[in-house]
């Protein structure tokens, strides 16, 4: 297998974008990545367009996006894995290059969640679970993760305070990320006093719907060594799935099996262990998810995720800095763009370009991208 490098990354600011269409939002992220890679659009041999397509008015958006980015007649197509779309897109791009089929591939993740009216969003939201057996009872995304939160609290003594710490941390780091949706620190009281969404999850335990795009340019080793002084290597990949219905999962509901499986594959391929990871981006769609991810990724023992958050061990300077770009909670979560945005953050860390939030001598970065209610999980390990 040929080695694969990341030679360019780009991202729009995340937030509400009433001023731009999906193709224009995608263009902003793409333009920044192409400039970062110092290549031209015509150098790109394939584009992989990633989104949760139920949020798009445009059917099969790869068509308009590849056209607008100037990427015809090269191959293009959509990848849909809900919130894990661009994490999965990266794996497909990697296989195009490692197989020798292409030398340069663009992974473009985008979402304009505010394109739908709130009534339409409500309707889409009602179909996030299995529509045959679960949605008919009024399940929601926060509801599903709340069921995990309550289980984790019962089994391990995790507290609402510990969950609130995650929100406080991620909002703190968002103030240092000019691309983040939110730019204000919040207090424990803000989180604990925010309105209940699905008990025990409150407003600040939940990420926000957001618009935005992020783009990754992948290249073969031969090309990367020619065009880039600072290639970052894709060193490990893992992708796994879990049953969609909660009732087909382990009834303890305290861990995401697909994360455990994907992490195992990625660690093995990369030849690193959890303790070797210098900086991590994990899928914090809800505060409880970040806590469970710590455990599933091996950053702490089972049941100790709440404590890891409470002790501040996931801040810069702690045992393992996590989501120090604001995470989904405070950077924003434009679903299809999230996986690519996580990769962008890690690439900048591994190049030493992270400014105020730079992890000293960062050599190994890990991205964890979860899809939907925990059906899909992509774990990617990058090395400087």
């Amino acid at each position: 297998m040929n080695k694969v490098a990341i030679i360019g990354v780009g991202q729009t600011k995340f937030g509400r974008r009433p001023d731009a269409s999906i193709r224009e939002i995608a263009f902003e992220g793409f333009q920044e990545a192409v400039e970062d890679a110092q290549i031209m659009p015509e150098d790109i041999q394939a584009s992989i367009v990633c989104s949760a397509t139920h949020y798009d008015k445009q059917r099969t958006p790869a068509g308009v996006i590849a056209e607008y980015l100037g990427l015809n007649p090269q191959p293009t197509f959509n990848v849909e894995a809900v919130c894990a779309a661009s994490g999965v897109g990266l794996r497909i791009g990697w296989s195009f290059i490692s197989s020798g089929l292409h030398d340069i591939v663009a992974v473009v993740g985008f979402q304009k969640m505010t394109e739908l009216s709130s009534a339409e969003v409500q309707e889409v939201m009602g179909r996030s679970g299995d529509v045959m057996w679960e949605s008919p009872f009024g399940t929601t995304m926060p509801g599903y993760f709340a069921l995990y939160a309550r289980s984790h609290m019962q089994r391990y003594g995790t507290t609402e305070d510990q969950m609130a710490k995650v929100a406080v941390k991620n909002h703190f780091y968002a103030t240092k990320n000019p691309k983040a949706m939110f730019g204000k620190e919040i207090s424990m009281e803000d989180v604990l006093g925010s309105r209940m969404i699905a008990s025990p999850l409150k407003r600040y335990d939940c990420c926000s719907n957001s618009d935005g795009a992020a783009c990754i340019i992948l290249a073969s080793e031969e090309v990367a060594r020619k065009v880039s002084d600072t290639p970052v290597w894709v060193s490990g990949l893992g992708l796994a799935s879990s049953p969609m219905t909660l009732t087909s999962r382990d009834p303890s509901l305290t861990s995401f099996d697909c994360t455990v499986e994907a992490a195992k594959e990625a660690y093995r391929m990369s030849g690193v262990e959890p303790k070797d990871v210098d900086v991590a981006e994990v899928h914090d769609c809800f505060t409880i998810t970040e806590i469970i991810n710590y455990e599933d990724l091996g950053f702490c023992d089972r049941g100790q995720g709440g404590k890891l958050a409470e002790e501040g061990q996931t801040y810069l300077g702690g045992k393992i800095p996590v989501n120090i770009d604001g995470g989904l909670l405070a950077k924003g979560h434009p679903v299809g763009a999230t996986g690519a945005s996580q990769i962008r953050t890690l690439v900048r860390q591994l190049r030493g370009q992270a400014g105020d939030t730079q992890v000293k001598d960062a050599k190994v970065g890990l991205a964890h991208n979860l899809g939907g209610i925990g059906m899909y999980c992509a774990v990617t390990i990058l090395k400087a």
């Binding site: 409500q122 995990y148 009732t247």
Partner: protein, 140 residues
Amino acid sequence: MSFGKFGKISYVSETKLQEFEKRLEEGHIVGSKCKKCGQLYFPPRADCKCMKGEMEWTELSGNCQLRTFTTLHFAPASFRYEVPYVLGVAQFEEGPTVLAPLSKEIKEDEIRIGMSLKLVPTELIGGRMIYELRKPEGQP
């Protein structure tokens, strides 16, 4: 026979499992069981993962224990007027688990993980059929 009456709202009406709704109307909670490998499924499936099976209906007692729950304060459009409502995951004494609403008769501060509950077929106004988790009979 149909499946279009199952749930507070329904998205799927065509399935090989239409019998499930009829059994529910008759007051029974049923799962499906593979005659070949013996695997029991709830919610039921028309096909066994062993690939060789032939499925048969099997009645479940409905007796279960609550594993986790949440009270929803924001809901999809069709459930807007029902908030707040409680959903739980419970495990049957026969093994499988179910995601279902908790009956409004159970007050929120009474709910405990591990409590004994019973899954009961329930007809809603307008003839829709659901199942819900209730306190076992004879319990205050």
